[in-house]
């Protein structure tokens, strides 16, 4: 019973559709753009009579009317969802954070390769990926003509409602091998945080002590693509949200794995989410020497883990240097 009814409905739809087709056939000019594949040569009018001109004009008008208000909008994002317009709008806020709030001092920007992609491995600090945002902002300001580097965001943050879409518009990409490889092959510079989630969930008392690097994915990617890998130390982000301890039980109730308790959060409510105005320092190091290695080095697990450890030491070095640059947390 229901089936026949449905069939009747489908039949009716088909009849309507063919009626529309009929109309389109009668007025070929009006379906000029949509009826044929773009790119196939169309029958050109050699000597346009008045009728043809009118038809063409009507078609043009129709096309304009149909897409009114759409073609003017510059709705474009890159394939990972980064939106230049959104970045432009966020520019003053980012500049404010960079220059006024955190007074970021950056060293070693000249060590970045002038062309092509590269991997930057930095220490991870804090739950909110301000560090990635600031580093990519520093590099973007240094070389405004090049595409902004993408910063990798770990799974836990990349899946968060409200946070995820905004991060994506600002150049954040979920950390996974496929994404990183695609970015690097496209010539983008990628900021990775090899500590992974462990780094983001560090307590205040463990600040600036690098955690074990997970699985050596960053080194493997650098070896596979043959692109330079630069260690980066970022200092200041850890004190912006000092996590005193992690509250597990109340967090489970709302579906998070833990709730970071900082000096101000959740004490001050949403105001507690405002990061503290610490003094930041970013130091970019010399790239790791990966050139004179055998071609199948990426498959050599022992070599990869040795290089990963070397990278960890180099990042720690940069962090310590950057810590030495500051007089205190605030200066």
């Amino acid at each position: 019973m229901q089936d026949t009814k449905q069939d009747e409905f489908v039949e009716l739809e088909a009849a309507l559709e063919s009626l529309r087709d009929e109309i389109r056939c009668r007025f070929p000019a009006s379906s000029r753009r949509y009826g044929t594949r773009a790119g196939t040569p169309e029958a050109t009018v050699e000597t346009p009579g008045r009728g043809a001109v009118l038809v063409a004009l009507a078609a043009e008008l129709r096309e304009r009317l149909a897409t009114l208000g759409m073609r003017e909008q510059s709705a474009v994002v890159d394939e990972f969802g980064m939106d230049e317009a959104a970045l432009h709008r966020a520019g003053p806020v980012l500049d404010g954070l960079f220059d006024t709030w955190w007074r970021v001092a950056v060293h070693g920007l000249d060590r970045l390769p002038p062309t092509g992609g590269c991997l930057l491995a930095a220490n991870r600090s804090g739950v909110v990926p301000y560090d990635g945002l600031m580093l990519s902002h520093a590099i973007a300001r240094f070389e405004p003509s090049r595409t902004r580097p993408a910063f990798l965001v770990d799974d836990r943050v990349a899946g968060l409602p409200f946070v995820q879409p905004r991060l994506a518009r600002l150049g954040g990409v979920r950390a996974c091998t496929e994404n990183t490889l695609r970015l690097l092959r496209a010539g983008r510079r990628v900021i990775a945080f090899p500590e992974g989630v462990r780094g983001a969930t560090k307590l205040f008392r463990d600040r600036y002590r690098l955690q074990r690097f997970s699985r050596g994915g960053v080194v493997r990617l650098a070896l596979e693509t043959g692109l330079p890998l630069l260690p980066v130390g970022i200092v200041g982000a850890e004190e912006a949200h000092p996590v005193l301890f992690k509250a597990h039980r109340p967090a489970r109730a709302v579906g998070l794995s833990y709730l970071p308790v900082t000096l101000t959060f959740p004490l001050l409510g949403p105001f507690g989410l405002v990061p503290l105005p610490t003094k930041w320092g970013i130091r970019i190091g010399e790239p790791l020497a990966l050139d004179d290695l055998p071609p199948d080095a990426a498959q050599d697990d022992r070599l990869v883990s040795r290089l990963t450890e070397e990278l960890r030491v180099r990042v720690q070095e940069r962090v310590d240097r950057a810590l030495g640059d500051r007089q205190s947390v605030w200066e």
Binding site: D3, A14, R20, A38, R62, A66, T67, A75, P161
Partner: protein, 321 residues
């Protein structure tokens, strides 16, 4: 282009089936057999229509006999629902069992070239999807979308079938949400409602493909051997919010529990599924890497954004044309 002389198309009344037949008729060099449960309205007289019910118990034998009698050389299988219906059991019979019948018949009638119409929805929307899913990504589907699950099952059936018929040239085409002036997939139809409730806090990147590009890919896959699996997608991505803004649709973000609870009844009435089976596709990423398809079938003529504009503008002009 030469290619097979006799081509059978199942699901003649689906959009792809209908348009593909029209396209293949073009130069009149080949014979076309259309299969469906009912005769389509206004069928071109050059097409041989054969009534076949894929759900019938002896469908495989019927199709095999037909394929042998007509000496069919290639078969395009697109008898799939473009939208899920509340009758989930019929959908299962039609899509999964029906496809099995078609495969059995093809083996019996020694039809070597098969083109299967799948969808990129089979990858499933997941929080942990990479930004671009390649054809080799596991098909995880969505437990609450029965038509997607059917296609996942059909594809795995097909892989099994291929092991016992290694000389067959099977092409699986996975288009993403297809749209254009003449057709919009169910998901796209939802997005072109005047007011569109969406999942609050999520704004995934969407991918569209223009109907002409899909038909073009099917034509190429039918006429020349392209064994393998291909995503058929447009270039570029469009965030959900941007797409709706372009189309002038109002977006109403609702909190997940509210949206999923409020839409439970209408969703079940319309698709027979829980709402997660649809809304998760507007929540997580399921964008696909189309490189392999573009290489095989050529550059798409519409990007995702152009395809979206083409569909929306055609919809707008529907009142006047």
């Amino acid at each position: 282009m030469n290619g097979p002389g006799v081509i059978a198309v199942t699901g003649l009344r689906t959009h792809v089936g209908k348009r593909l037949v029209e396209r293949l008729l073009g130069d009149g060099a080949r014979r076309l057999i259309g299969l469906d449960r009912r005769r389509p309205y206004r069928l071109d007289e050059r097409v041989t229509f054969r009534r076949i019910d894929l759900v019938a118990p002896t469908a495989d034998a019927q199709i095999a006999a037909l394929l042998e009698e007509e000496r069919v050389e290639a078969l395009v299988h697109c008898a799939f629902r473009s939208d899920p219906t509340p009758d989930t059991e019929l959908d299962y019979e039609l899509e999964t069992i029906g496809s099995r019948n078609v495969m059995t018949a093809c083996a019996a009638a020694r039809v070597r070239r098969i083109v299967l119409a799948s969808s990129t929805m089979v990858y499933g929307p997941r929080r942990d999807n990479p930004n671009f899913l390649t054809e080799d990504h596991p098909l995880r589907g969505h437990p609450d979308a029965h038509c997607v699950q059917n296609r996942v099952e059909v594809e795995s059936d097909l892989q099994g079938w291929l092991r016992s018929h290694p000389d067959a040239e099977v092409t699986v085409l996975r288009p993403c949400w297809m749209l254009g002036p003449r057709h919009r997939d169910g998901g796209v139809r939802y997005l072109t409602l005047p007011v569109v409730p969406t999942v609050m806090g999520f704004d995934p990147l969407l991918q569209f493909v223009h109907e002409d590009d899909v038909i073009h890919a099917f034509e190429r896959a039918t006429l020349a051997p392209h064994p393998g699996v291909f995503n058929v997608v447009g270039r570029g991505v469009l965030p959900l919010s941007m797409a709706l803004r372009l189309a002038g649709r109002r977006r109403v973000p609702l909190p997940t529990p509210l949206l999923y609870r409020a839409s439970a009844a209408p969703a079940r009435a319309q698709t027979g599924d829980a709402p997660a089976g649809f809304f998760d596709y507007l929540r997580y990423l399921w964008v696909d890497d189309g490189e392999r398809g573009w290489e095989a079938f050529g550059e798409p003529s519409y990007s995702a954004k152009e395809a979206w504009i083409s569909a929306v503008s055609a919809l707008r002009m529907r009142h006047y044309a």
